[in-house]
């Protein structure tokens, strides 16, 4: 009896988590869809002109900006994070791991506004003086985000590597493979799903981050291939204009949220599918 009660109780709690997700989704869609329908879905995501107080609702620059910033931050943060993981898993002495791992996890606890502030004060002037341009750029946002996703990448991929049975490694080393060969040819493939999962979670963090990005990305409505160009991401667009938006403008911001929602769903699905295929 008590067993069943606990089971049911846990079920209800679990469902309430799902319920809040559902509520948020329903709310965003209910607020945003009317405007998307009014503007036309194609026009909304393919037009480059965003002037919501004058009746132009095109979010293509923000979609591209979000993807550029997310991709570059994954390249920077992902490679740095995986290198760090390899070092911690195989090459670092035990005392170094004991110091480094908690320090890296501490990175996750720093509020994003602090990252943004450091970006504005240190990184942006550095980019401006070194490479030219305004400094507020895809590059600045990607570097900041790359650092912000490090703890996610490292913690999860390190756990994945550590769950690979020790016998694999012992066998490989006994056959005369070097540590690097063992790591690269055996441990990494064996832990692949966990490593991909860490990158997916990192991607979710990168595409969803708002505060730090608003502070360093420049928020221009520009489509540019140059990493030194300022861009606006979907999340920045919502937070930037939320303050005084009313009427259709406000609905357009919810509609931006709808598109963000769809993009994240698509990216997660692709990631899950590739994970399954390669297994």
């Amino acid at each position: 009896m008590k067993e069943r009660l606990i089971e049911k109780g846990l079920l209800i709690v679990a469902l309430s988590a799902l319920g809040s997700l559902l509520l948020i989704a329903v709310f965003i869609f209910a607020e945003g869809m009317p405007l998307i329908v009014k503007t036309g879905f194609k026009e909304f995501i393919a037009s480059t002109r965003w002037a919501p107080t004058k009746g132009s609702f095109g979010i293509l620059p923000m979609i591209i900006g979000s993807l550029q910033v997310t991709l570059l931050s994954l390249i920077l943060g992902g490679s740095l994070g995986l290198a760090c993981t390899m070092f911690l898993a195989e090459f670092a002495p035990r005392w170094a791991v004991r110091i480094l791992k908690p320090l890296i996890e501490l990175l996750a606890g720093i509020p994003s506004v602090v990252y943004g502030f450091i970006g504005v004060v240190v990184l942006v002037p550095w980019i401006r003086n070194t490479f030219g341009g305004p400094g507020f750029s895809i590059l600045a946002a990607s570097i900041i985000l790359g650092i912000m996703i490090l703890p996610t990448v490292i913690a999860i991929s390190l756990d994945a590597l550590n769950t690979v049975p020790l016998t694999y490694k012992e066998g490989s080393l006994a056959l005369g493979a070097t540590r690097w060969q063992t790591l690269y040819r055996l441990l990494f493939p064996a832990a692949r799903s966990g490593i991909i999962a860490s990158l997916i979670l990192a991607m979710g963090r990168a595409i969803g981050e708002t505060m730090a990005v608003i502070m360093v990305a420049g928020n221009a409505l520009l489509i540019s291939a140059s990493p030194l160009a300022p861009v606006r991401t979907l999340t920045s667009n919502i937070a930037l204009e939320m303050g005084y938006a009313a009427g259709d403008h406000q609905r357009a911001l919810f509609a931006t949220g709808v598109v963000l929602f769809i993009i994240i769903a698509i990216l997660n699905t692709i990631a899950l599918l590739t994970m399954r295929k390669k297994r």
Partner: protein
């Protein structure tokens, strides 16, 4: 479709009547709506007023100057907020100027350019002039900074400078006067616009059409980007609205507005 519209209109009408009906008993709620430029200052005044008169609730809503004028004409709100001149046909409204403001163009202190024309300002912000050299400055690409869509300062700047022109797509967008000032203070190639009262020693205001923004040039309207913040009423204001309007012109309120960077009228 039409009957739907009619029904909605009747609904609005009855709601408006309901509000009007409430108004004559001892009123404790005051609704203020309109210009988003005035909104933060009205909120400040509302806060001060509520501290002095506990029990009074003041709702301050945005929507823009035009919406504020319509709302006060239709008695949807008690006081309207407006940051532009009233059109001649909007003559059934009583306007009280609560403060003056100027929008100043600011550049880095090291920038040798002192003065530009309104046409040049428009060309800079729409991306037609891209280098300071064209304005007699150093050979640097101009970093243009504008405000976010929906900001009252941006709306005034668009109205007075940009006209039908669009902002350059590569213009940086920041969501506060302070953020714009911060970038300009650090970037030798930057230009932005902020409220006159928020200029500090780290940035340099430009003269426009050879007129330097100052309290004097804004007060006598010779500075091209001067604007006035208005509170509007239509017909006889309610006692509570009257009391709030009197408060807005009191030394305490005027002092608070001046502290926020506006130019006092009293």
């Amino acid at each position: 479709m039409l009957t739907h519209l009619a029904r909605i209109l009747t609904l609005f009408h009855s709601i408006a009547l309901l509000f009007a009906g409430c108004r004559h008993s001892t009123q404790t709620t005051l609704t203020i709506a309109g210009s988003t430029s005035v909104q933060p200052f009205a909120e400040l005044l509302a806060e001060l007023y509520s501290q002095m008169h506990p029990g009074v609730e003041i709702n301050v809503q945005g929507g823009g100057s035009t919406a504020g004028i319509r709302a006060v004409q239709n008695h949807i709100c008690d006081i309207g907020m407006c940051s532009r001149h009233l059109n001649p046909e909007e003559n059934n409204i009583t306007a009280i100027t609560i403060a003056l403001d100027g929008i100043a163009l600011i550049v880095h202190r090291s920038n040798p350019v002192e003065n530009i024309t309104l046409e040049q300002a428009k060309a800079i912000f729409s991306g037609k002039i891209r280098n300071w050299q064209e304005l007699g400055g150093e050979n640097r690409t101009i970093t243009v900074i504008t405000r976010e869509e929906g900001s009252g300062t941006r709306a005034s700047f668009e109205e007075k400078v940009m006209g039908e022109g669009h902002f350059a797509p590569d213009a940086l967008v920041q969501d506060s006067n302070g953020a714009v000032r911060e970038i300009v203070a650090n970037d030798p190639a930057a230009i932005g616009y902020i409220s006159f009262g928020l200029i500090d020693e780290r940035v340099k205001p430009l003269a426009l059409n050879s007129i330097i923004p100052s309290e004097k040039t804004i007060k006598d309207h010779t500075y091209p980007l001067a604007r006035q913040f208005l509170f509007l009423t239509c017909g006889e204001p309610t006692p509570l609205a009257r009391s709030f309007l009197d408060f807005a012109l009191s030394p305490k309120a005027q002092g608070a507005l001046a502290e926020e960077g506006l130019i006092r009228v009293k």
